[in-house]
Amino acid sequence: MSKLYDLTLRIQRTNSEDGKPRYQTYQLQAGPIMRFVDLLRMINDDQDPSLTWNSSCEHGQCGTCSMRINGRPMLACELLVENGVEMFNTTTFTLEPLQVATVVRDLVVDSDEAYERVNRVKPYIIDPLPPGKDGEEHQINPDQLELYVDATRCINCFCCASACISSHRTFLGPNAMLATIVRVLDSREQEKKERLKTIYSDQGVYRCHTSKACSHVCPKEIDVAHFIALAKKGFALE
């Protein structure tokens, strides 16, 4: 028989009527390899169908289920009960929405509002290099690609932005910075000036205090702070 854990989940709830957050406590039993999204589903099925949360892929690829678990921004679909118990050394967990946008309801934040900062940096090629010869792709040396490929792995889960104190104010945020830094380094983007202007604006990298919280919480293990530091150095690549 596999072990069962007696768990206490303290969940921040906000309804659309008064918009005031309060905490509700749920008790449940679950096996070691249940994920936090499974726990939320169990609460919906057995105790409280109105508890609102969100997920999509449920295997760490889309960044929909991000929330704060005992204060730490993480993906609820990636955290197993036994790992959570070990990581926080407790069977009581506080679940709260990310601090990146207005709460819509319970654990769901307004993602359009959060994404607005990413949209502002133009997450696409503004001025593309003309196509190669007929039927030919552009050539990009794999060593060149290696310099920025990690930054392309970002899934916009906003865990870093939630952990980054600077981005709670005017800073566009670590993930928005990654989206534009990639295109500074990508040879297929010709519009570098506008990108650099954003990066060095009063909403850009100089707002960052190098705390490295972003790299620490990123579920994709991207060294976000490294890329921000690179931009601060003016992209002086060794």
Binding site: M1, S2, N15, S16, E17, A30, G31, P32, I33, M34, R35, N44, D45, D48, P49, S50, T52, N54, S55, S56, C57, E58, H59, G60, Q61, C62, G63, T64, E78, L80, E82, V104, R105, V108, D112, Y115, N119, K122, P123, Y124, I125, P128, P131, G135, E136, E137, H138, Q139, I140, N141, P142, L145, V149, T152, R153, I155, N156, D186, R188, E189
Partner: protein
């Protein structure tokens, strides 16, 4: 309670969905006709959260610079893989324009993996061959293990750049169709809890898969077959719903995809008694046999009582044993899948046996369209202004079995074809919109909100998904399918006695789940009826009681459901234009045997 229409929006093109197919289509329209107003509605919180973002392996396309490969080989592999049920006009169009699509993505910034020359790297996949099955070939381009994400990021960026309007967390709940002409959709904006009418000149359905019909699935939580339900509720048929692909090795219990690589690097499947059982089913190929055969072998072991039940997820599985492989294989060749086992079941592939079982993976069947994505009724007449693209549609490129890497190729190709068709269509359209009164959503949502009773939506949904996994998955028989149909009818009755705790419409997840339950039931029903009717085995559809393919079933199935809930079956012929064209190699496109 306000379930009346809150407001009306107008646009040239409405796209239901914002996955790969949807956004490739929108981007094409903008490139050809920049001032088009396009609205894309999506169930997820943001387009990037669509299921396409999870596609890992790659994207098949014959590189014209490759001296060894040829488009005709790709066509042949697709035809053979489909168990001779793909439409050859569609196969030809998609395979021929594949490389152009790759260049489109590359030129717009997709971060494909590169070889030393800076050109696109390629990998090989099961079923990719040269010279009509002679030997395997490198045909799939990829972006590491996140090819789908690359497509999403690129096509989302392009549409954002061109000024698309996204309504996220907004679900399409009724198509506005009158006299074989579609004029838009009724949608529910979840955040606001507002029902809106969107009037459009052209409407594209690109809602993706239906994996949630099954209990164990590699598909995302939103894949409840909404698009299929939308057309069924409009009195239109779905095609080949019984053609559902199961991946042999989903990780128990979430059903996360553990790639074929596990078997190709030497992983051994073992049952409860730790016996390596593949030798009983495929003495020569063993673990390397094709997907469907391996899935059936695993399922047979489980049915024979030789599976293991995982106590947490309460579902039977077998083991994949990788413990005998050198550390280097774990670290260099299967790092991603190893990390999945670590992350989701806390097991170490180096020292532990890992639990896997067949999992629902892909729906070949879908909304019937012609080769340009125009939606058709059961008489093959076009519904004006209505298009389908991506996994929810069936043109059909995959027939009864999809080859790995052919789906995301189909998304972008059909997406762009539909885009071009829509641009032509808009030229013929008057500038005013035609307004229509919705017919069905109000009574339905009224019932969801006002019925009272003790039935739980979650429990009913689990019961449906379990019966489909147990009775209509890898193996099917007359009896098992009939059992599932009885259960579906019972759930249908019980669903009338569910209630919804909160009457507030804003972000009411229970209400959405109640609506999804109805979609799941409709899709499940169409799968069951078509599967019962098809008394043969073909591709992913395997009947224990009729285990071979029969010529009399060389056709597509069309299933419609009328207002009384009765199912009606009819047939659509398979397009054989490559075979009929005659000439060199045309004989390869006859009804050939699918043996590997």
């Amino acid at each position: 309670m306000k379930i009346d229409i809150d407001s009306t929006l107008r646009c040239d093109v409405l796209i239901i969905g914002a996955g790969g197919a949807a956004l490739r289509c929108a981007a094409e329209i903008f490139e050809k006709r920049p001032d088009t107003s396009i609205i894309s509605i999506t169930k997820v919180t943001h387009p990037q959260k669509s299921h396409t973002s999870t596609a890992q392996g790659g994207l098949a396309a014959v590189d014209p610079k490759d001296p060894l490969d040829a488009t005709i080989y790709h066509m042949f592999d697709t035809w053979k893989g489909s168990d001779c049920t793909a439409d050859q006009n569609v196969v030809k169009t998609i395979c021929e324009s594949a490389w152009e699509q790759i260049l489109w993505l590359e030129n717009r910034g997709m971060h494909f993996s590169r070889n030393r020359d800076g050109r696109l790297s390629k990998r090989t996949f099961g079923g990719h061959t040269r010279n009509f099955g002679e030997s395997s070939i490198y045909r799939a381009v990829f972006e590491a293990d996140r090819t789908g994400k690359g497509i999403m990021d690129t096509s989302w960026g392009e549409t954002l750049k061109k000024g698309i309007r996204f309504l996220n967390q907004t679900i399409g709940i009724e198509l506005l169709i009158e006299n074989k002409q579609c004029h838009g959709v009724i949608a529910l904006k979840q955040k606001e809890g507002a029902f809106i009418k969107i009037l459009s000149k052209a409407t594209v359905i690109a809602t993706g898969g239906s994996g949630q019909v099954y209990r164990v699935t590699t598909n995302c939580r939103q894949n409840t077959g909404d698009g299929l339900a939308l057309v069924l509720q409009s009195g239109l048929p779905v095609m080949d719903p019984e053609a559902v692909q199961f991946h042999p090795t989903g990780i128990v219990g979430p059903g996360i995809l553990a790639s074929e690589t596990l078997r190709s690097v030497g992983g051994i499947l073992r049952n409860r008694d730790l016996e390596p059982f593949m030798i009983e089913y495929a003495p020569k190929m063993k673990e390397l046999a094709p997907r469907d055969l391996v899935a059936r072998a695993i399922e047979s072991e489980i049915r024979g009582g030789r599976g293991i039940v995982n106590p947490d997820h309460d579902i039977a599985h077998v083991w994949i044993d990788l413990t005998h492989l050198p550390d280097e294989v774990h670290e260099k060749q299967i790092p991603e899948v190893s990390s999945f086992f670590k992350r989701y079941v806390n097991l170490d592939t180096k020292t532990d046996l890992c639990p896997v079982r067949p999992s629902n993976h892909y729906h070949m069947g879908g909304i019937p369209t012609n080769a340009w994505g125009e939606v058709e009724d059961k008489n093959r007449e076009i519904i004006g202004g209505l298009y389908g693209a991506g996994e929810c549609a069936a043109a059909s490129f995959h027939g009864f079995n999809r080859l790995g890497t052919n789906s995301i190729l189909e998304l972008i190709t059909m997406g762009s074809l539909v885009g071009n068709k829509v641009v032509d269509y808009l030229k013929t359209m008057p500038s005013a919109h035609h307004d229509l009164i919705p017919q069905s959503y109000q009574p339905r949502f009224h019932n969801y909100l006002n019925s009272s009773g003790k039935e739980s939506i979650g429990t009913l949904r689990s019961r449906l998904r379990t019966v489909m996994t147990e009775q209509v998955s890898v193996f099917r028989t007359e009896d098992s399918i009939s059992k599932a149909i009885d259960t579906i009818e019972d759930i249908n009755d019980r669903a009338l006695h569910t209630s919804i705790t909160s009457s507030h419409l804003a972000m009411n997840q229970e209400l959405v789940q109640r609506w999804e339950l109805e979609n799941l039931l409709l899709v499940a029903k169409s799968i069951c009826y078509a599967a019962r009717y098809r008394k043969e085995s073909r591709g992913a559809h395997f009947r224990d009681d009729f285990s071979v393919r029969l010529d009399e079933f060389n056709h597509h199935s069309l299933v419609g459901i009328d207002d009384n809930g009765d199912c009606h079956l009819s047939r659509r012929e398979i397009d054989m234009s490559l075979f009929e064209a005659g000439g060199e190699h045309s004989e390869k496109f006859d009804f050939i045997e699918r043996s590997y």
